[in-house]
């Protein structure tokens, strides 16, 4: 098949075509720029749907890597680097999430980004290519390039269109993430040299890395991913980045970029270093549990909505990590679904926050109040998203968290968590309750009670708060739809990933058995 | 102790002493004169090593040309023959310490070397060092390449020197 018509190549690099188009549109024609970017990202979304569902090229019941695009790339002087893309049940949902969130984010910038629209859209589409590349790359070298590359556009998105402390936040984001990935670089080199290939499936198949070296490699990879997730105690860049980033940046940051870290664990750490994974499982679970409780507790103390959501992300991603390292099908499937859920709910929350911020220019929720009467549509949507984020049964968050807790409980009983036992699951369950507290507290402050001072503040400028318009509702609607769909009928989503997840858990339990 | 060793020790002492005077004396002409003593000492060393030609070259070029040029330059450009500034800067003790340390280190390292007791191989009879040197300089079997490159090098240095020193119209 021709290089560019390989489905995953096409999907990954299609946004670059948009970048090329944008370069030819003069910077003054803002609407043309917006429409072009939106169209390109929508087509990318359609391509992703076509690739996975309509074309018949992807077989969801097959647990192996599919849609393989594999070509020799650098094959000289002892290097064995390939251009190798593929997808399986572990990545398919994340790819779809990426292609869905990008057009939504672009649509959300319609009025929010008035300055330097062209550059904004260029960086955004570059970012999409980078993220898709991370999810489909199966060669460590290629993966590393995409992985690092996602930093650059995000750095500019925060640094140019961000809030008052944007430069500090952008630099912190960049340096933190880079600090982790440079250690991963050395580990990648070690694997590539010793294994004779950079191909991930091949390395997994070969196996045979001595246990003590596995441990170091595991730590090096985990350093990169844990910072990105971010796991407690490496999370301090996240609130800064979220608060300063523009709305669309926050959506993508929370929705997709953080998932790069958790995805990295499930794609690389767990299958590549099974013995080290077993050894590390209780420790990671411990950190995850601390993160869940810590994130929830700190969220309660926040008064800035974005900061609150940022810390709640630390808590939610703690659940994901707990599920991943339960190392059983329930835990892994729940964790992957929860990655999607978090992307949808938190993304939606950031979008809603962005919409109100555009009108009020403040994110301190204590100055709001009584918005329910003024903005009923906004309030309703906000309520649904909040409830989804705290894990109300019938909405998506519940499905993910419940499955994860099931998995963690099982892992505790089967001894994967060693000394931790079922305590991790038990304590983490507290996190769900704490989430209900801080989210409802925020909701109550914003929408109930007497009218907040911000309402008058806005009136002073000659206009009053308006409810959401059609564009804004259109932005949020697909996410609301998914919240209900996953909440009420999650089976299709589980079916998509089940074969791959089962395969991973199976090979895993085989390795675990061999060890004991 | 052999005569050669005694001569070496005396010459070495003279070289070191005069070199020290070069950098410490405040009178520039005196410094240049001390430099001549140093260079002459080096010529003596060459002579004791059977390198007669080099010794002569040393005297003719370094003393006869370069040191004399120094004296001319000093006399033509300076109105006062004594340097009035301080001879040492604040960091002198540091550099002295580093120099001593390096010297001590080298002495310590080299003292373990076995080459001191070896006798130098004798020249074959009828060996003409000057002729051998001359041949070596222009023979493709030996040093013709460095010899030729050195001439290009000197040309480049000449161009550079002219450019740096040449005063053009309109410049002060």
């Amino acid at each position: 098949m021709n290089f560019f018509t390989e489905p995953l190549t096409l999907l990954t690099f299609f946004p670059l075509l948009g970048v090329l188009l944008l370069l030819f549109i003069p910077g003054g024609q803002k609407n043309a720029l917006r429409w072009t970017a939106l169209a390109v990202s929508l087509i990318t979304f359609v391509i992703s749907l076509w690739v996975f569902f309509l074309s018949g090229l992807y077989d969801a019941s097959n647990p192996d890597l599919q849609l393989v695009a594999r070509h020799p790339w650098i094959q000289v002087a002892g290097w064995n680097i390939e251009y190798h893309l593929a997808a399986d049940g572990l990545s398919i949902l994340l790819i779809l999430l990426t292609t869905l969130l990008t057009p939504i984010s672009i649509l959300s910038t319609w009025t929010a980004v008035e300055e330097r629209v062209k550059e904004f859209m260029v960086f955004f589409l570059l970012l999409e290519t980078g993220m898709l590349g991370v999810f489909v790359a199966q060669d460590l070298f290629l993966f590393y390039i995409f992985w690092e590359f996602t930093l650059v556009p995000m750095y500019f998105l925060i640094g140019i269109w961000g809030g008052p402390r944007r430069i500090y936040a952008a630099l912190k984001f960049f340096l933190y993430t880079m600090a982790g990935s440079i250690l991963m670089l050395l580990a990648i080199l070690w694997l590539g040299i010793q294994g004779g290939t950079f191909s991930v499936p091949q390395l997994i198949e070969q196996g045979g890395i001595p246990a003590n070296i596995q441990w170091w490699l595991f730590i090096a990879f985990a350093a990169a991913f844990a910072i990105k997730v971010p796991m407690w105690p490496l999370h301090s860049w996240l609130p800064d980045a979220h608060v300063e980033a523009p709305t669309a940046g926050s959506v993508i940051l929370a929705g997709v970029l953080l998932k790069l870290g958790t995805y990295g664990f499930v794609r690389f750490n767990i299958p590549l270093f099974p013995e080290a994974t077993l050894k590390a499982a209780p420790w990671i679970a411990l950190l995850a549990t601390i993160g869940i409780i810590y994130g929830a507790a700190v969220s309660y103390a926040q008064t800035d909505i974005k900061k609150l959501v940022a810390y709640s992300s630390v808590s939610h991603l703690g659940f994901v990590m707990l599920g991943l390292f339960a190392l059983n099908p329930e835990g892994l499937a729940g964790a992957i679904l929860q990655m999607i859920n978090h992307g949808i709910s938190t993304g939606a929350l950031f979008l809603l926050v962005g919409m109100i911020y555009e009108q009020t220019h403040t994110r301190e929720f204590k100055v709001y109040g009584g918005l329910w009467k003024l903005m009923p549509v906004f309030g309703t949507l906000y309520l649904i998203v909040s409830l989804s984020s705290m894990g109300l049964p019938g909405l998506n968050g519940f499905v993910g968290e419940f499955t994860i807790l099931l998995g963690a409980w099982g892992a505790g009983q089967s001894g994967v968590f060693y000394w931790g036992g079922v305590w991790f699951a038990a304590i983490s369950a507290l996190g769900v309750i704490m989430a209900a507290i801080y989210i409802l507290y925020m909701f109550q402050k914003m929408f109930m009670g007497p009218q907040g001072e911000v309402v008058d503040e806005v009136k002073k400028h000659g206009h009053s708060l308006r409810d959401l318009n059609w564009r804004e509702i259109a932005v949020i609607a697909p996410l609301i739809l998914l919240i209900f769909w996953i909440g009420l009928y999650p089976a299709p989503f589980f079916d998509l990933m089940a074969p791959s997840v089962n395969k991973l858990a199976e090979t895993f339990s085989a390795a675990a058995l061999a060890l004991r | 102790m052999t005569a050669a060793q005694i001569i070496f020790l005396i010459t070495a002492a003279v070289i070191l002493g005069s070199a020290f005077m070069v950098v410490t004396t405040k009178n520039l002409v005196h410094a240049a004169l001390w430099l001549i003593v140093t260079l002459f000492g080096a010529a003596v060393l060459f002579a004791t090593l059977n390198a007669g030609f080099i010794a002569v070259v040393q005297v003719v070029i370094y003393i006869g040309a370069i040191a004399i040029l120094f004296i001319f330059a000093v006399m033509l450009t300076r109105r006062s023959m004594t340097d009035t500034g301080p001879g040492l800067n604040r960091g002198w003790w540091l550099s002295a310490a580093i120099a001593l340390l390096t010297f001590g280190g080298l002495v310590w390292l080299v003292s373990g070397w076995g080459g001191f007791t070896k006798a130098a191989p004798a020249y074959p009879s009828g060996f003409d060092a000057v002729a051998a040197l001359a041949h070596a300089l222009v023979s493709p079997e030996a040093f013709v390449l460095p010899f030729e490159v050195a001439s290009v090098l000197l040309l480049a240095a000449l161009v550079g020197a002219v450019y740096i020193a040449f005063q053009r119209k309109g410049e002060e």
Binding site: V76, W190 | V110, P140, A156, Y163
Partner: protein, 477 residues
């Protein structure tokens, strides 16, 4: 009589030397417009480059083992000629703007390239020494080329004094090596070294290392670098920072790998420490710089440290070829990136010396997109960030180090890169995220230089295979 083979071995060097002499005469007596001198100099470099490329795959030795032609020297010579061409391109408009347009500039530059090329081919310490002088003396003059500026004169003088000082170390080292092995020929030294006591040889090798350490600006012999890089005309700095570095490293590699494997056990530790200290100190001090030229000077010191890493496993025959190839690739990557960065600096520099602060880059992106994007590419490449050639170079380099079993050094290297991200990104922050005004010089050859460098920095990183191949095929004879 010298044989034809002798001349063939040195053909490009001889052609360029003759061309330089002829250009000197033409420029003095015939040429009125100095732009023509520049074009002729570039033509000479281009012709020599063609000759050098025609020598790919050849291997011979000439002048009874004084010089050699092999894959290594061809690679280095091609690199030197490219950097000579880029040096002319950078200077072409710059010297006019600064009011120092003189024909000698180009002749001296050619002489310097002659020395650099000879250095890569030298297999005798005497030739190494002469070649080093051949490349250095024109550079001293070029550094002081802007005679009316005190800073430039100071740079020239400082460079000269410290250069002479370092040559002293080199000659002392050569003498001791000669004393230990009774030869200045590298392979004869190698043969003698395995049979005699190695103490003098080790001291001699260490002194030679010090001598080259000054040339390539390795800590602790780096003190001259920031002042000279800052004071010298920027076009000279750009040329000097790659040309002199490549030449120094090329000679160092050849001398150590050919003559001194016997004392690798001692040298490896020294090289390890020098590389580590250079990377750390260079990057740390660069953080506090506010002048772009000084910042790039410290950055070049830090990069000397990275390149020095490639030397550490030189005594291990299994790894040495990989590490030499990695070093060569990194040098090539550095040349491209470095010239691009200096090109951008020149585009912003004003005749009155303004435009050289990092803060002068504020808002550059919103004035001149291409220039700022190019500079961003160069900064990312210097950090070692994808998708740039600098990242691929680091990848290769760290592979060699890990292969050789020096994981500790590799970790120091990546941490140093992280530190460096901080100050390189500051330039990017200024260009994109702050507001400012600046005057930008537009000039065809200059624009071409940074434009092509930026393109290559990205393009080669996506298809590095051929350069990997060339670097790995460029073995020592």
């Amino acid at each position: 009589m010298p044989q034809p083979q002798d001349y063939q071995t040195l053909l490009p060097v001889i052609v360029l030397a003759v061309w330089a002499c002829a250009l000197l005469l033409l420029d003095s007596f015939l040429i009125q417009r100095k732009g023509l001198t520049a074009c002729l100099a570039a033509a000479g470099l281009a012709i020599t480059l063609g000759l050098t490329l025609s020598q790919i795959g050849r291997s011979s030795s000439g002048f009874s083992g004084m010089v050699v032609l092999d894959g290594f020297s061809t690679f280095i010579n091609a690199l030197q000629l490219v950097s000579g061409l880029l040096g002319v391109a950078l200077a072409y408009a710059y010297v006019k703007r600064m009011g120092i347009e003189r024909g000698e500039y180009y002749t001296l530059l050619l002489f310097s390239v002659v020395g650099m090329m000879l250095m890569a081919q030298a297999t005798d310490l005497i030739v190494v020494f002469i070649a080093l002088e051949m490349l250095s003396i024109p550079l001293y003059v070029l550094a002081a080329f802007n005679r009316t500026q005190a800073a430039s004169e100071e740079a020239g003088l400082k460079y000269f004094l410290l250069g002479a000082f370092s040559t002293g170390f080199l000659v002392y080292g050569i003498t001791l090596v000669y004393g230990a092995t009774a030869s200045t020929n590298l392979s004869a030294i190698f043969a003698a070294a395995s049979s005699t006591s190695n103490l003098l040889l080790t001291i001699g090798a260490a002194l030679i290392l010090v001598g080259f350490g000054f040339k390539v600006a390795v800590v602790p012999f780096h003190m001259w670098t920031p002042d000279v890089y800052q004071g010298a005309p920027t076009a000279v700095t750009g040329f000097m920072s790659s040309g002199a570095k490549i030449a120094g490293f090329a000679a160092l590699l050849r001398v150590f790998a050919t003559a001194f494997p016997a004392i690798a056990a001692d040298m490896t530790d020294i090289l390890w420490a020098l590389a580590a200290v250079t990377m750390i100190l260079g990057n740390l001090v660069a953080i506090s710089q506010t002048d772009i030229k000084r910042m790039l000077a410290y950055s070049s010191i830090a990069h000397a440290g990275y390149i020095l890493m490639a030397f550490v496993p030189y005594g291990n025959p299994a790894v040495a070829p990989v590490s030499i190839a990695a070093g060569l690739f990194y040098l090539a990557a550095y040349v491209i990136t470095n010239f691009g960065a200096w090109g951008v600096v020149i585009a912003l520099e004003q005749p009155d010396g303004k435009g050289l602060q990092i803060s002068d880059y504020s808002g550059l992106f919103w004035r001149k997109r291409g220039l700022a994007v190019a500079m961003t590419v160069f900064m990312l490449s210097l950090i070692g960030f994808p998708p740039t050639i600098g990242m691929v170079g680091k990848f290769y380099l760290f592979r060699a180090i890990i292969d050789g079993g020096f994981t500790g050094l590799a970790i120091i290297g990546v941490i140093a890169s992280l530190v460096s991200a901080f100050y390189y990104l500051r330039v990017v922050v200024n260009m994109f995220m702050r507001e400012g005004e600046q005057k930008i010089e537009r000039e065809f050859w200059l624009d071409l230089t940074w434009g092509a460098a930026a393109f290559l920095t990205v393009a080669i990183s996506l298809a590095p295979g051929w350069l990997f191949y060339l670097a790995s095929a460029a073995g020592l004879r």
